[in-house]
Assembly symmetry: C2
Homo-oligomer: 326 residues x 2
């Protein structure tokens, strides 16, 4: 059993650290949006992974705090700019930054958050240049941009393969979690673990994101907070749709893509697609695929040079991420 107390203690420490970083600076037009986006919550999944893993490995918690804050700032920068690009009006049921403050302010405050995120990573690296936290972070940041670029271009493309989609979510989502995992190893002077920790983060990140797509339709939890089938209602080519395409022959796939895209009535589209998903057993197939990523993570973990207690804590943390109970 993961120590739930120690996790909530850690979250408290992080929230305390966050509260100490002041954004009430001049010009307010630039800095207010930063306070705002950071204040509307979020699960702090990435910084908490970095912090908890560093704790498990008995690493440098002070440095980890700086790095975790940098990661959270970067994540929020990407949300602010992505929301402009996707023309999203709500984020965690609050107005998005560009809706509340204007588009120009959202672009510029996003730029500032990106710059400041690097300052915090730099702070975490100070005096420990071998760890190369900054290079890892910059590579990750570039990949996140590549992922967002692919995501945007997929919207305009008729046909995408599941493996292209998985590469996109690897870049857009998984690499940042993997970066947190690797940073935890490095901040604990466990360079021997860095590579495997990164890979672990990738597997968990992919499983997480694919499960997100799966839950869109098959969540049993009404608290999941989203409209059931929202992806299909918005004609998004999610993993469910792409898994379905992979299961069909070329003729069937072409027919489906054309029909799926052409049904104007969202509810009718949802019903049609749902029956096809049932017919091809996509619920089970995608679940199986997700399990394979989890299994890969489990195998990677078992091979690590860690104490049984550490392995258990790590395993439980990964479980927590995937179960979204934090």
């Amino acid at each position: 059993m993961t120590n739930v107390n120690s996790i909530s203690e850690l979250l408290k420490s992080f929230e305390l650290y966050m509260a100490k970083v002041r954004w009430d600076r001049q010009p307010v037009e630039l800095y207010d949006p930063v306070s705002y986006i950071l204040s509307i919550g979020g699960k702090r999944l990435r910084p908490m992974s970095l912090l908890y893993l560093t704790k498990i490995l008995d690493g440098n918690m002070d440095k980890a705090m700086h790095a975790a804050y940098g990661i959270e700032l970067f994540h929020n920068f990407s949300l602010v700019h992505d929301d402009i690009m996707d023309a999203s009006e709500k984020r965690r049921s609050f107005d998005t930054v560009h809706v509340k403050y204007g588009q120009n302010e959202a672009i510029l405050s996003g730029d500032l958050m990106l710059i400041e995120s690097i300052s915090f990573i730099q702070k975490a690296q100070e005096g420990n240049f071998q760890s190369n936290l900054l290079n890892l972070f910059l590579t990750t940041a570039r990949e996140v941009c590549e992922g967002q670029s692919l995501d945007m271009s997929f919207e305009k493309k008729m046909e995408i393969s599941l493996s292209e989609y998985i590469e996109m979510i690897r870049l857009k989502t998984a690499v940042l979690l993997a970066c947190c995992f690797e940073m935890a190893a490095k901040l604990s002077n466990r360079m021997d673990l860095a590579g495997t920790f990164y890979d672990l983060g990738i597997q968990i990140g992919l499983a997480f994101q694919l499960e997100d797509d799966w839950l869109d339709l098959y969540s049993e939890n009404s608290d999941f907070g989203k409209v059931r089938g929202g992806d299909i209602l918005r004609a998004k080519k999610s993993a469910l749709i792409l898994e379905l395409c992979e299961s069909m022959n070329i003729q069937g796939r072409n027919d489906f893509l054309k029909n799926y895209m052409l049904i104007k009535d969202p509810v009718l589209r949802l019903n049609t697609v749902t029956s096809l998903l049932n017919e091809y057993k996509i619920k089970e197939k995608l679940k199986q695929r997700i399990s394979e990523y989890k299994l890969k993570a489990h195998l990677l973990l078992s091979a690590l040079t860690l104490s049984p207690a550490q392995k258990l804590e790590l395993e439980n943390w990964m479980q927590l991420i995937l179960e979204r109970r934090h």
Copy 2:
């Protein structure tokens, strides 16, 4: 006399370095705009300052190349995002990135350029952590965002003081040149010069930008490439306008601001304002103010611990920047 040959050689080396950095990567939607904006020219004023000053000081030219490229990339990132915010359609008489590739692509490619610019600065810093190039750069980058934020908010404000305006151009323009000057000192292991070099860059940057405003109306060179009085035609509150406001009493200033803003016909506005500028001798007053910044730069320079030859080369370079002959 500055060695014109050596400057053009240096520019050639820099262009060669630039050509070697490949942006023909995937996804093309993300990377093509980077090649594009870098290919449409520009005076390379900032990187060339960094390179030439490092050369004068006999510093590390390899590292200076990385830093110069990072600076140029950052400068172009800021142009791409500023052009979105200002809704500019042309840049150096080419389509702006958001016009050519779309707004979302311009936001995202700008983000990428910002990230990559930091990678190049990081490369320049490698193995020389005492120089703190990265902290200098991150502070500068933050200030450039602050300057752009002030610039945008000034457009909505009725009354701005000349000193507020100068603070805005210090942040938006001068600090990046100052950063180049300081980096040259640091890359030459002349930490003793770093602070004064930074100050020199600020004075030159301010003189340069104020002169830009002055030239808008009083340029004798028809090749200056802009419509004469463009700032006034666009009702921009430039240094000329603000110098005029400072010269008037409160009543006169209020009348002027109201009337200046209210004349709908741009040509009539230009004529009205020009007579007022003549009446108050603003051409001479602003020129005088610019001379003071140049004088301050000259005094800073004379006090530096440099050989007479180095001082002469530095003086000539600053002259070149201000005369825009490069």
